[in-house]
Symmetry: C2
Subunit: 147 residues, 2 copies
């Protein structure tokens, strides 16, 4: 399977967040061409500022393999990770992050610095702009509806 295939699954996760009235972001973790964790943003529903798609996906993947070390895994996420999620990806030793869109307001430099750091975790390979249009349009649709 290719990156488009898995990003479409991450987008399906984002749609679940949308249906729950949450900012529509989704994530999927893949190891050896097998999905071992998925998640979508549930910050409001879970009363938890940390219930981001990536955090929930990492939690599920780690539980599944009974190991916090996710070496060799790729995480697909519809939006560039925030600093918290970037550091969680780096510290859980995920090998590669593939993301969809980047909002204009985001300081990419600090995110890349966290992903690439070896102070807490392991440098992560980064691929950007996979299905950028689809990943940003669901977020635009969400905020348009909110206003």
């Amino acid at each position: 399977m290719n990156d488009i295939y898995y990003m479409k699954i991450a987008l399906k996760e984002a749609e679940k967040a949308y249906k729950h009235g949450e900012v529509p972001i989704g994530a999927v973790i893949v190891k050896n061409d097998k999905i071992i964790g998925k998640g979508y943003n549930l910050k409001e529903k879970k009363y938890n500022a940390m219930a981001h798609a990536e955090i929930l996906a990492i939690t599920k993947a780690s539980k599944k393999i009974k190991n916090w070390r996710l070496n060799g895994c790729t995480i697909y996420v519809t939006m560039i990770p925030c600093p918290m999620c970037a550091s969680a990806i780096n510290q859980s030793r995920i090998s590669k992050v593939i993301y969809g869109t980047v909002p204009n307001t985001v300081d990419k430099e600090i995110i890349y610095k966290i992903l690439n750091g070896n102070e807490y975790g392991v440098p992560v390979e980064i691929v950007e702009n996979v299905l950028n249009d689809e990943c940003s349009s669901i977020i635009r649709k969400f905020f348009k509806k909110k206003r």
Copy 2:
């Protein structure tokens, strides 16, 4: 109650981590002079790279008040937060972070930038070096025993 009092409780949390064979770091969240969340590092036991003291304490505090917004709260943590926890503190709108020790290897600049950022969350007031010696000595003791 003063900062020393609450940091001693965070240290007691760190001791629990020590007993579990985990890097001994503890955290306590206080609102209006009442403890609403505590936690200690359980990364190995929970198979989760994100099971840091601060993350577990924030999760408990948010569940307790059924709100992800922890405005007006102070978090006491025995060691400077990592980028993940710094961002979680910032995004959960905790007002103040009071920490004990800083390992030499840590790039404080990036941590402070995350804590002070208003891109994802709310700038956090920072107080450093509360019970620094006690907070660092338990970590030194842990790594000495490990070797």
